[in-house]
């Protein structure tokens, strides 16, 4: 089985959020970057498990990003990916990223393309579905379980109010969510091996320009918390009714 895993780089989950250049750019100064948790913990690990179970196949990661993403790409190799591709472009919009990934993946015969459910910085959850459309493949978002037998994948996905179990023929694109696998911590051997595994840098192909983020802003600060003594806890319910008017 030939598997492609989309890996993106995001600021660490505890990173301070600030912007520069007149609030047009994320300020990555002093911030640690990590592999997007959904891509690493679920998509990549499940891809490796499927390859290991089959005893054959390959797991390739693909990242759209500048040279600064290579450290996080090596993390994916340390966890166990066979090789990595970096498309040399700064990501600006989901369709741009998807077109670059699809242009690379087209005609390479991947059986399975795994993306994360969403990136925790942009929270769009769009790239996987766009890649699927551009490659004319089915797409299942929010996939929490994945089994493959022959050319059929059985997938569980979260839907409003429950879980759907579905079958879909390969090739397919999935958006990996919690439950698909357990996080793997790279060991020393993996980290050593990652240094020499292939990381191909591919130039960007032309893409559509359809949307751009003009500026960022921080949400307005809370005006302050109103404390209620524990003995009078019942007042909270009254205040929620008469003052906040939410119940």
């Amino acid at each position: 089985m030939k598997i492609l895993v989309l890996l993106s780089q995001v600021p660490d989950t505890t990173a301070r959020i600030a912007f520069t250049n007149d609030n047009t750019q994320y300020d990555g100064n002093g911030v640690t970057f990590i592999v997007n948790p959904y891509d690493e913990w679920y998509a990549l690990v499940r891809a490796l498990e499927l390859k290991e179970a089959a005893g054959a196949g390959s797991v390739t990661t693909i990242t759209v990003g500048g040279a600064d993403t290579e450290a996080t790409i090596r993390k994916g190799l340390a966890i166990g990916a066979d090789d990595a591709v970096r498309i040399d472009a700064q990501p600006t919009d989901a369709l741009q990223v998807a077109e670059l990934v699809a242009a690379y993946a087209k005609d390479k015969g991947y059986d399975l393309v795994l993306a994360g459910k969403e990136t925790i910085d942009h929270n769009g959850g769009q790239v996987g579905a766009m890649v699927a459309e551009l490659l004319d493949m089915p797409y299942v978002p929010l996939a929490s379980k994945l089994e493959v037998s022959g050319t059929t994948a059985t997938v569980e996905r979260d839907v409003p109010g429950g879980v759907e179990v579905l079958e879909v023929g390969l090739p397919v694109v999935l958006g990996a969510a919690k439950g698909m696998a357990e996080q793997r911590i790279p060991n020393m051997r993996g980290i050593m091996a990652a240094r020499t595994k292939p990381l191909a840098v591919v130039p960007a192909t032309p893409v559509s320009e359809v949307a751009r983020t003009v500026k960022f802003e921080l949400p307005p600060a809370k005006s302050g918390v109103r404390m209620i003594p524990a003995e009078e806890a019942g007042t909270l319910i009254e205040l929620l009714h008469t003052e906040a008017k939410v119940i």
């Binding site: 989950t13 929270n123 839907v159 109010g161 759907e164 179990v165 320009e209 404390m227 806890a233």
Partner: protein, 312 residues
């Protein structure tokens, strides 16, 4: 130039999210819009109240196959000359909206929270820790609306319902089984949420949390360790790696307020925090706070909620 809105109308009644999306689309268009849906739903003419002039329904499509639905939306969009396509930012919309955007080479704004200002659409990024203003430069725009972002309109009109008869190809996805989870109010749509964390000490102590939620008509939620330890089902886990919610009211009991938890709940309109530790970081994000032992505070809240329910 017209606006179409895709909604998922499976289920016993038209969902809140569907009614919000039609309302939003018609506010955006400043007039009636065309709603597009699939499956066996009845009562679609009532969407006129939210601003649908017409509802086009593909009766022969029953599973959520995003390729069939993408063809449906793209076809209706081209027949109606649509320049704006609205979807809901939920499991259905997440499979569909980006696909439609990629097919039409359109800019997609994922998770819009309101009408545009100065032509820019606002969406939450960095798990609600910041907002982005997005400009769409393509001829066609695709917008996915966050649940709980608009008040549903009730104008009393009736929409014309038309059946779609085009060829959408075969479904490549087959649904084998659907497992219902939880109480019925899907967490992302819930307006009121009562949530509890590791401070509850064990799954056997959830009865008062559920009782309070029931009395308020709220959904229940939990922090990640609580779901990881199997005290509560996984679909209740809110936060950066769980469900992101934006209810009108979020009551957090025995939850410390770690940044990854806040990431999923900080868009709530009113936040109440009950924690025995006055230094718990959650108080910084709260509108109302009670420093106290959950096991003493909860019975007081339950009594007050009973009293309120008896009065109204």
């Amino acid at each position: 130039m017209s606006t179409i809105v895709f909604i998922d109308t499976r289920g016993e009644k038209l969902s809140k999210a569907a009614q919000e999306a039609v309302t939003y689309a018609s506010q955006l268009a400043g007039g009636p819009v065309t709603a597009v849906t699939f499956g066996g739903a009845q009562g679609l003419e009532s969407l006129g109240a939210q601003g649908a002039g017409k509802v086009i329904v593909a009766r022969n499509v029953t599973t959520l196959d995003s390729q069939q639905l993408t063809r449906l939306v793209a076809d209706v969009a081209s027949k109606e000359n649509a320049t704006t396509i609205v979807c809901v930012s939920d499991a259905t919309g997440k499979a569909l909206a980006p696909r439609v955007a990629a097919r039409l080479k359109a800019g997609h704004v994922a998770g819009v929270t309101g009408l545009p200002e100065g032509g820019l659409f606002r969406r939450n990024v960095f798990s609600g820790k910041a907002r982005a203003h997005v400009q769409v430069t393509s001829a066609v725009k695709v917008l996915s609306l966050m649940p709980n972002s608009v008040a549903i309109a009730h104008n009393g009109g009736t929409a014309a319902v038309e059946e779609y008869n085009g060829d959408l190809g075969a479904a490549r996805i087959t649904v084998k089984e659907v497992r219902k989870a939880g109480s019925g109010i899907p967490l992302p749509e819930a307006e009121l949420v009562v949530s509890a964390g590791r401070g509850m000490k064990g799954p056997e102590h959830w009865a008062p949390v559920e009782e309070l939620a029931n009395l308020l008509g709220a959904a229940t939620a939990c922090s990640r360790p609580v779901a990881d330890m199997h005290w509560r089902p996984h679909h209740e886990h809110v936060g950066q790696t769980g469900v992101a919610i934006r209810p009108n009211l979020y009551i957090a009991i025995g939850i410390s307020g770690a940044i990854q938890h806040l990431a999923g709940v900080n868009q709530s309109k009113v936040i109440c925090v009950i924690n025995k530790d006055p230094e718990a970081p959650f108080f910084k994000a709260a509108d109302y706070g009670i420093v106290g032992d959950a096991f003493e505070v909860l019975p007081k809240l339950i009594d007050a909620a009973k009293k309120l329910n008896a009065e109204r």
